[in-house]
Structures are given as structure tokens and as C-alpha cells.
């Protein structure tokens, strides 16, 4: 309990430091007024806009006003959309989460069978092909993969659409592109793009796990008992290679949300990542600051959860608290 409270306090402190750094940095670059205002506006209109946005006040005042507002859940209005920044971000979060979810499913559903196969048939042509593909998956930069996917599946073959989220269906109160055919088609390329890096990782883990587990006594015993190969693989082997894979998937969820920035801006997927890139280009300070604070909070919470889950899964891993 003490551990959790200490971690939470660290988290709050970290969020404060980050908010200050980000605010100070954003404050010192760029002039949002120049972008927002009509070039033919008079000086009086200009002054009024500056005052309205609070940009005429000194830095520390702006920061404390900002901090006070943040604590009340108010991150300020977007300069561009003229709507609360937090609302904009939360509105786009489901799109990002569903993309991350879809790519985890792809990575696991394809990665485990491919990895297990490569581990069982070590040295065969199929295994070598899979491993070469996984190395390629690591090496090819994500954004270029995306362009290749677009070129092949959208431009040359014309099978799949390349931008937007498509129709959003509703199922049990959840809105998602996963529930319509059109939505799924729109999601296919971005989800594959986001999945490839993790797919390569899952393949590697499943393969090395399989090779390790296969030599264990209990597998030999199962074989000696006369169990079918299928049952040995599906029950005895799979269960034992799953733990590191589950951990990886849990830990990489944050990474997926971060990498979604690239995928979303290429496929014009209306998620948080695209919003942040657009906002950086438009110098939309409140949205950038709000995004950064939200994402830092997500990460702090994710890391905390992973640490706690770790000690649940494996009692040998002790938390700081016990050690001291």
C-alpha cells in the first residue's frame, strides 16, 4: 500500500514537472496569433484577440492560471477549434484505442502460430522465411511500411481505402469501426501497419519460447504418455510460452499508442496521434500541452499497472516495499 501511494506521489510530481517543461517550452516558441488572425485584421482586433487568449500576461501568471485550470480538468480551449482541449482529445481517444486493440489482436493471432511453427520446425525453409520476415519487420521504418501498404493495396490493387475511419457501428453501447464492414476495411491497413513491429517481436518470443520449452522434461513425458502432437502443442507448450508474450503485449500497449502518431497521420485516422501532429503544426498550444499531459498520465498509470501485475503473476518479483 505504501508502495502504491509512493508511486502515485511520484506520478503526480512527474506530471507537474512535465506540465511546467512543456508549458515553458511551448511558451517560448511560435506566435499563435499570427496563425489565428485574419491577415487583414486591424491592430485593435489583434490586441483584443491577444487579451482574450490571455497571451498578454507574464509567463508565470499564464502558467499558474493554466495549472489552476488543469486541476479543475480545464486545459483551456483549442485556439483552432475553439473548444475545450481535453474534450477534443477524449473524443479522439476511442479511435486510437480501437486501432491499438486491433493491431494487438493481429500481432498475437498471427505471431504466436508463426513463432511456434518456426520454433518447432527449426532450420526448415518455412522457419527461415518467417524469421527473415521478422527481421525485415524490425528494420523497415514504420512510416515507410505504411507508404508501401498504401501503394500495394490501395493504389496498385485498389482493394482497400486509405484514409479516414469509415462507418462507425454501434454494439452494446460502444461505437467502433470494428462493427461495420466499411469500418473494418478502413481499419485494415492502419492496423496492419501498427501491428507489424509487434508481430515481429511476438514471433521472436514465441519461437525462442517454443525452442526452450520443447526440450523440457514435461513435454517429453507428455510425448511418452502417447499424447497427440496437436495436444502437446496446444496445451502443454502453448501455456508455457504465453507468460512472456502476455507481459510483452501489456507493456507494449503504451508504445502502440505512441506509435499510432505515425500511423494515424499517414492514414488520416482521426485519433489522438493525428490531432497532436496537426496541433504542433498549427501551434495550437492548449491541445499540445493537454495531449502531452494526458499521454504522460496514461504512461504513468500503465507502468504502475505493469509493475503491480508483474508481482501478481510472479510472486518471486518483490516490490520495493518488501525489499526495504
Amino acid at each position: 500500500m505504501v508502495y502504491i501511494i509512493r508511486r502515485l506521489m511520484q506520478a503526480v510530481f512527474l506530471a507537474l514537472v512535465m506540465s511546467f517543461l512543456v508549458f515553458a517550452g511551448i511558451f517560448s516558441v511560435g506566435d499563435p496569433v499570427a496563425i489565428l488572425i485574419d491577415p487583414e485584421a486591424t491592430q485593435a482586433e489583434r490586441v483584443r484577440l491577444v487579451a482574450q487568449l490571455g497571451l498578454d500576461r507574464p509567463f508565470h501568471e499564464q502558467y499558474f492560471i493554466f495549472l489552476g485550470n488543469v486541476l479543475q480538468g480545464d486545459f483551456g480551449n483549442s485556439f483552432v477549434y475553439n473548444r475545450p482541449a481535453l474534450e477534443l482529445i477524449l473524443e479522439r481517444m476511442p479511435a486510437t484505442l480501437e486501432l491499438a486493440f486491433a493491431s494487438i489482436v493481429i500481432a498475437v493471432v498471427l505471431g504466436i502460430p508463426l513463432g511456434v511453427y518456426a520454433g518447432l520446425r527449426h532450420g526448415s525453409v518455412g522457419s527461415k522465411t518467417i524469421m527473415a520476415g521478422s527481421i525485415l519487420g524490425f528494420s523497415v521504418p514504420n512510416f515507410w511500411q505504411a507508404i508501401m501498404l498504401i501503394l500495394i493495396f490501395a493504389v496498385i490493387l485498389g482493394w482497400l481505402p486509405v484514409s479516414g475511419r469509415g462507418e462507425v457501428g454501434q454494439f452494446m453501447g460502444i461505437h467502433s469501426s470494428l462493427f461495420t464492414l466499411n469500418g473494418l476495411k478502413h481499419m485494415a491497413l492502419p492496423a496492419i501497419n501498427l501491428a507489424i513491429g509487434h508481430l515481429a517481436l511476438v514471433i521472436r518470443l514465441a519461437r525462442s519460447g517454443t525452442r526452450e520449452v520443447r526440450a523440457q522434461d514435461y513435454i517429453r513425458f507428455a510425448r511418452a504418455k502417447g499424447l497427440s502432437e496437436k495436444r502437446i502443442v496446444m496445451v502443454h507448450l502453448l501455456r508455457n510460452i504465453l507468460i512472456p508474450i502476455v507481459t510483452l503485449v501489456g507493456m507494449s500497449f503504451g508504445g502502440l499508442i505512441a506509435f499510432a502518431v505515425v500511423t494515424e497521420s499517414i492514414f488520416a485516422w482521426p485519433g489522438m496521434g493525428k490531432l497532436i501532429i496537426d496541433s504542433i503544426h498549427l501551434l495550437d498550444r492548449p491541445v499540445v500541452v493537454a495531449y502531452l499531459i494526458v499521454i504522460v498520465m496514461i504512461f504513468i498509470i500503465l507502468n504502475l499497472l505493469v509493475d503491480l501485475l508483474y508481482s501478481l503473476i510472479d510472486p518471486r518479483i518483490r516490490l520495493d516495499e518488501v525489499r526495504q
Binding site: 512527474l14 517543461l21 512543456v22 517550452g25 511551448i26 516558441v29 511560435g30 527481421i135 524490425f138 528494420s139 523497415v140 521504418p141 514504420n142 512510416f143 515507410w144 507508404i147 508501401m148 498504401i150 501503394l151 490501395a154 493504389v155 496498385i156 486509405v162 503504451g254 508504445g255 505512441a258 506509435f259 502518431v261 505515425v262 497521420s265 499517414i266 497532436i276 501532429i277 504542433i280 503544426h281 499540445v288 502531452l292 499521454i295 504512461f299 507502468n303
Partner: protein, 307 residues
Amino acid sequence: MTDVNTLNPDLLEKKPAPERPVWRVIREFRSSHLAMFGLFLLLTIVIAAFLAPWITPQNPYDLRSLSIMDSRLAPGEVGFSGLSFWLGTDGQGRDMFSAILYGLRISLTVGLIACTVALLLGLTLGMVAAYFGGRIDTIVMRLVDLHLSFPPILVALILLAVLGRGLENIILALIIVQWATFARMARATALSERNREYVEAAKSLGLSRTRILFGHLLPNCMPPLMVLYTVEIASAIALEATLSFLGVGLPSTQPSLGLLISNGFQFVMSGQYWISVFPGIALLLLIVAINLVGDRLRDVLNPRNIT
């Protein structure tokens, strides 16, 4: 004067001197064809990139040598000025081959500078943390852990959102992203080396701490760090390309590979693939070449493999 050897035949039959470690590493490295291919590819790319001004048919950033009439020619087409463009041209009539070599130059420079500084920074902090231990160690490692719990692209994005785009800014962002990886590796290596006999020997000789740290501990920590350094250059180049592609990295006056790919992206939809595809292939070859070399170095330098 008589030669000593003629008097003492025993010395003639002495065993040959043990092979120097450097030669062993080179010999073992050469035994892998794949790694040699990677090295060859890497050297070709590096040399071509640094000789770019002398070997490209065109200076892609000298506006006088560009002609808008040549814009978006497909690979192999002959341009208005009689020059043939083997990799096609971009929207401004720029020869893609020349642009790629110039872009490689920028990508390589950024990656090398950033990684080298990050290596030095991480190395110093990691070794100091390992050697002195205690509070310094705790502080450095807390920072490292915190740092590594955020994905690199996010850290870089936050920094660049704050700093704005620019050559110095992206190098700074890459250094900040990478120092922690080096620090962790340096600390782990130094910790395992710290208790070895040669350090004790140096201590008992009464050598100064600085001298033990840099004269004795450092050289023995280098092999795993060199492997990491090689691989990290590849990831720095990839990260720079990604950030430049997103428009938060290098400014358009420094057209790295990422920017070239980004410029070509708008034409991909209309099937004019070469503007994006060829710089991407160059980037891919560079990364694969570095990783092939790094992988082999890891095998060769691993102390467990030394017989």
C-alpha cells in the same frame, strides 16, 4: 656479436605469440558472408554519401541546374536537358539519385553525431554510477528507468513539439532519447568488470580513481558498448527519418531521407511511386546493413564465445 638465438635452440621452438584480440575479431567477423555483405553495403553507402557532390550527375539543391520541365519523370526517362534520370525526378525536376545521396549524407551525419554524443554521455554516467555506487548510482538509475519507460518516439516528439524543428534540435532530441540506453549498458558492464582481478591489482598499486576508471575499467567495457553503438546508429537514423517525415524533425533546407519520402508521399496516390519508394529503399538498405554488421559484432565480441 652472435645472435642469442643461435646459442639457445630452445628459443627457436617457442610457441607463436598468441593472436591479438583485434585480429581474432577481424578473422571471425570475416567468416560470415552475410556480415561481410552488410559491411560492404554499408561502406558503399557511406562512401557514396560522402562523395555525393563529386559523383552525382546534378547538384539537387542548386536551383540553376533544375528544370521544371523535368518534374516527375519516371525512372529511366531522359530529361529536357538530355540528362537521363535512372531513378526518376521529384516535383521540382530534381534527380532522385542525386537527392538520395545528399539525403543519406544528412541522415548519416545526424545519426553519427547524435549517437556519439549519447554514447559519451551515457558511458560516463553509467560508469560513474557503477564505480561509485550509493546515492549517485540511485539517482542516475532512477533517471534511466524513468526515461526508458517512455517510448523513444514519444520523448522525441514531446521535445520537438517544444523546441521546434531544426538540425540542432533533432540532434539534441536524439541524444536525450538515447543516452539512457547507453548508460544502462555501461553500468551493467562496469558492475560486472568492477570486481575483476585487474581492477583490484590497479587499486593495490595505489592508482588514482580516475585512472582506474578511465585507464583500466573503460577499455574493458567497450566491446558490448560498441555493439550497442552500431545498432543505435541505425535506430537514430530511423527515428530521425520518422520525425522528419512527420514534419517535426529537420527543416526543409536539410532534406534528409525522411523529408524526401515525405515529399513523395503526396504523389504515391497518383501512382508516381518513385519519389517515395527509392529514398525508402536507400534508408532500408542502410539500416539493414548496419544491423547485419552489428549482429555479427555481437557474436564476435561476446566474451562467452571467446575460446
